[in-house]
Amino acid sequence: MEENQLPDTGAWLEQLRATFVKVAYQRVASSDVEDIVQDAMRVVVEKNIDPASGAIEDLPPLAWCLQTLRNVIGNHYQRSETRRRYQEPESGSEADSRSLAEELDARETAGAIEIAVKEMHGTDSDCARYFDRLIDGVNAGEIAAAEGLAAPVLYRRLYRCRQKLRLLLQARGIDL
């Protein structure tokens, strides 16, 4: 098969499943891999995603599928954590507590990004400026134009900046 020809959907799904398994093995206990991959594949199939799909929620098909896998892994851990950590005296209140805790966690994660970007202003002002604009909702193309950079140059820089941001977040205990 030429690389730019579309594989048939069945073969593509098989390849996707194999990719999910490999990625999942790097991130979850091996005993959980099959369940997680199965859940992620079910979402993909229910959404009728195939190699010919256009962008889904602004992501290309494989990226969307990997995002789905990421969400399933996140949900899996959240469920385990909730069962392990939260004491709930009343039936039906677990969802409430999880939702409130998740909302607060999301805010704190967003807060951690803001703090990391502020920290970057002292060490890598270009990256901090790019992130500030991204967080303001400006897209990469617009940032490149504003910075007077060719798009490929900005793309390479953004990639490196995200690696730096990852390290800063990991140093703050954010699980990535």
Binding site: E3, N4, Q5, L6, A18, T19, K22, V23, Q26, P51, A55, L59, P60, L62, A63, Q67, R70, R84, R85, Y86, Q87, E88, P89, E90, S93, D96, S97, L100, A101, E103, L104, A106, R107, E108, T109, A110, G111, A112, I113, E114, I115, V117, F131, L134, I135, D136, G137, A140, G141, A151, Y155, R156, L158, Y159, R160, R162, R166, L169, R172, L176
Partner: protein, 202 residues
């Protein structure tokens, strides 16, 4: 790597042609490292996107409901964002709410790492006077937080060595959660927190 990073950025930005996109995805499905790069990049992008939503929400016009006292203070974006910097917020919280916790000498340490909430738990008949839990074996301090269900805010973050006395002047929500995290001597977490719901009967 620079060529990959540029292709990855263009791929995730939807700027590759259909043929290049198909080729890139086929490559990623054969190369675990490339698939893992996409996965990791999605993680950071997703967090930036969350920060973007949070910034927009913070910058949106304030809700008409007036906030007063502690609630007004905790609703300030800087306070919400400072929470992950736990040490910083702890110092601030202790400075701002000196009356909330009455410190007692001694350290609450239990026999086991498993610890649990004692009171208040579930429906309670009156305003709780104190938050009580079974002590954690490795804890030197505890971080205690009170979460308000109605305003979906974290009202209090405080570090204490003892059970937490609730000052009568403190605004306690009628329905809320309290969360206790066991901390070591350097205020790092030494165990999983417990989160407990309570409701003060009208």
């Amino acid at each position: 790597m620079s060529e990959i990073s540029e292709r990855l950025e263009r791929y995730l930005s939807g700027e590759l042609s259909a043929a290049d996109r198909v080729a890139f995805e086929a490559e990623a499905m054969k190369d675990l490292n490339l698939a893992a790069l996409i996965y990791k990049d999605l993680q950071v992008r997703s967090m930036i996107s969350a920060a973007s939503s949070e910034r927009r929400r913070a910058e949106a016009p304030a809700a008409p409901k007036a906030r007063t006292g502690i609630r007004r203070w905790v609703s300030m974006p800087i306070v919400r964002w400072a929470v992950p910097a736990a040490a910083l917020i702890v110092v601030a919280a202790i400075a701002l709410w000196p009356r909330v916790v009455s410190q007692r000498s001694g350290v609450l340490r239990g026999p086991a790492r498993h610890f649990s909430a004692v009171s208040p738990v579930g429906n309670v008949s009156g305003r709780p006077q104190k938050l009580v839990w079974t002590p954690h074996r490795d804890a030197i301090h505890y971080r205690v937080e009170i979460l308000d269900v109605a305003s979906r805010t974290r009202l209090t973050v405080i570090v204490t060595d003892t059970f937490m006395d609730l000052d009568p002047s403190m605004d306690i929500p009628a329905i809320g959660y309290w969360k206790v995290t066991p901390l070591g001597p350097d205020l790092s977490e030494v165990g999983s927190p417990i989160l407990t719901r309570y409701r003060i009967a009208p």
